[in-house]
């Protein structure tokens, strides 16, 4: 039937199928992005209007609002731990507790904390642990009345998810917020995050996320972001654009149709009761934030209780993004493995009508367009090389098509930047906006291929069962003011 490989590939069926596959895949993705822009615009407008009726000043003076615990795991963060803790203690919320979980640090983190905050050791024998974790050695509370809201849990190393679970076990508030010790949280973040819980009556809020921003090379003083600057190098600068697009367009759009399947591990608020019911974070996956959100949703579907996962468009948490390509690849490798693990763990959702929209639409979307995208891109690259080698590509049309698709991508990024600039005052200088736009336009050439490489590396490791955990992300730290 085919007398050579060339014959096989150049046969109409294979050639046409391949073309139609990429065309339909691209069209579907573009349609989703376009719908996303419209939904996100509507969602942002509605959020802004709603906030008129429930302002931060109203909440800070209110009684009967939900109590909140912020849980932050820390591992070997001795260099900046004191500053980080003081920063997290300064968050403004009337009924607020802060639990720092020292996850078996090998450096002097704990000693520094004990000295600075005048901590007193307490026995952990009577602490109930609804979620099993690595052994909790001791609980520390401060003797100093200034630090009544601080608790330090010292435990054996178990990983980030395990540390979060230990903190959630110990908390006794209605809501828990999970973050990282080195994140900079806006002072009024909790006041804003608690809004959906106060206003919703028809559906229970099971997770609430806030926007996360990249603060590399910004001026930070005493754990507060004093001056937000754009990163100097291209890798984190493109991430600024990527995060704006992902949070402002992607998450807001999905949130508008209650299709959010992910609340970022860097900053997410959950009702403690529901997290305990589902058994907390899964310590066996590196994508524990996505996995928890899906499990919470499934739990509520099983209970047949109406629920919602919501997102706030404002950037409430600032973090340090990977500063160079090698760390970026490690990060994306980990995210890809986390995605793989979560998709396999919950494969029963796939087109399962029992889980309604989550089974029929949201999980398939994640499978085809989040999990599948790097595979499709990689496959596309192979096809271009192969078809080009065989001389089957109409180069003038291909180049024009490439340019058109490139411009579409630029348009979506520009739309995201426009919505960000219109809604918030984080980047107000023309020079910053120009740099952001340039970063967005360079992204497909200098950044996106590296992302795909990182993701494929992650999949490769999963296919060939190469063990790899969180890895270490070397952080430069934020610059202090005056230095």
């Amino acid at each position: 039937m085919w007398d050579s490989i060339e014959g096989f590939f150049s046969s109409g069926i294979v050639f046409n199928l391949t073309n139609y596959f990429f065309f339909l895949y691209g069209l579907a993705l573009l349609s989703l992005y376009f719908a996303g822009v419209l939904l996100a615009s509507r969602a942002i407008k509605k959020t802004k209007q709603k906030s008129t009726f429930l302002q931060v000043g109203d909440i800070v003076s209110a009684t009967d609002i939900p109590t909140v615990t912020l849980v932050a795991p820390a591992y070997n963060e001795g260099l900046t731990i004191i500053e980080n803790v003081k920063s997290l203690l300064s968050i403004q919320y009337p009924y607020y507790e802060f639990i720092l979980v020292n996850d078996g640090s090998k450096d002097d983190s704990l000693e520094k904390l004990i000295k600075e905050f005048d901590l007193e050791r307490h026995d952990a024998s009577f602490i109930t642990q609804p979620i099993p974790t690595a052994t909790v050695r001791y609980i520390y509370r401060s003797r100093n009345k200034k630090y009544t809201h601080l608790t330090v849990i010292d435990k054996n190393n178990g990983g980030r998810a395990d540390a979060l679970n230990a903190g959630i076990n110990f908390a006794n508030t209605e809501l828990v917020v999970c973050t990282d010790a080195d994140c900079i949280i806006e002072q009024d973040a909790l006041l804003k995050m608690v809004r959906p819980y106060l206003e919703e009556d028809e559906k229970e809020i099971i997770a609430c996320g806030g926007g996360i921003g990249i603060a590399n090379d910004s001026i930070v003083s005493n754990g507060v972001l004093k001056e937000l600057k754009l990163p100097k190098s291209i890798v984190p600068m493109v991430q600024v654009v990527e995060y704006i697009r992902a949070f402002l367009l992607g998450r807001m759009a999905w949130g508008e149709i209650n299709g959010l399947m992910l609340v970022s591990g860097a900053f997410g608020m959950y009702p403690r009761k529901r997290v305990l019911e589902v058994g907390g974070f899964n310590a066996k996956t590196v994508g524990e934030d996505l996995e928890l959100c899906i499990r919470l949703r499934m739990h509520m579907e099983n209970l047949k209780i109406p629920y919602k996962v919501v997102y706030l468009p404002e950037t409430l948490c600032w973090t340090e993004g990977p500063p160079d390509y090698s760390i970026l690849v490690k990060q994306r490798d980990r995210w890809a493995r986390g995605l793989w693990e979560t998709m396999s763990l919950h494969k029963k959702l796939f087109f399962n009508p029992r889980y309604r929209y989550m089974g029929i639409l949201y999980y398939p979307y994640w499978l085809f367009f989040e999990f599948g995208a790097p595979l499709v891109e990689f496959f596309g690259l192979i096809c271009i090389i192969a078809f080009g080698f065989f001389g089957w590509i109409n180069w003038p049309v291909a180049i024009l098509l490439f340019f058109a698709v490139y411009l579409l991508g630029c348009l979506f990024s520009t739309a995201a930047i426009f919505m960000y600039v219109k809604s918030f005052d984080h980047y107000t200088k023309p020079k910053q906006i120009i740099e952001l736009l340039l970063a967005a336009y360079l992204e497909p050439f200098v950044y996106h291929p590296v992302i795909v490489y990182g993701q494929m590396l992650g999949y490769y490791k999963k296919i060939f069962k190469i063990k790899s955990g969180w890895g270490t992300m070397t952080r430069k730290g934020f610059s202090a003011s005056g230095s």
Partner: protein
């Protein structure tokens, strides 16, 4: 003439308190945060400090403790939006607090304290 320091981020409350103090014949210095104090202000012994507890980058209790350590004063009045009973108890537990007023505030009460001094 007595000296009063008002520390409030909210410009409306700050101006109102500043006016209240001035009209009662006190010399008033009003600032948005402790960063605005100069060396001379820091060495003044204030008859009253009227301060909020919600400031950027510092926990409320730590701020109050810092004010008590750093600034000389005879009376410390707290005027704040975060005026729940729990917060009030924690603030008073630090000791040295003359009064705690949750917003909405009755300006007549504060004026009475200033006038009675």
């Amino acid at each position: 003439m007595g000296k009063v320091l008002v520390i409030q981020e909210d410009i409306i409350i700050r101006r109102i308190l500043e006016r209240l103090v001035s009209i009662n014949n006190f010399e008033c210095k009003s600032i948005r945060s402790l960063n605005e104090l100069n060396i001379e202000d820091q060495s003044t012994n204030y008859d009253f400090i009227i301060s909020d507890i919600l400031f950027e980058g510092i926990a409320p209790l730590e701020f109050v403790a810092q004010v008590q350590e750093v600034l000389m004063h005879k009376n410390l009045l707290i005027v704040t939006h975060m005026g729940q009973e729990k917060t009030k108890k924690e603030i008073f537990a630090l000791r040295g607090i003359t009064g705690f007023y949750a917003v909405p505030i009755d300006l007549d009460e504060i004026e009475a304290i200033i006038q009675a001094y």
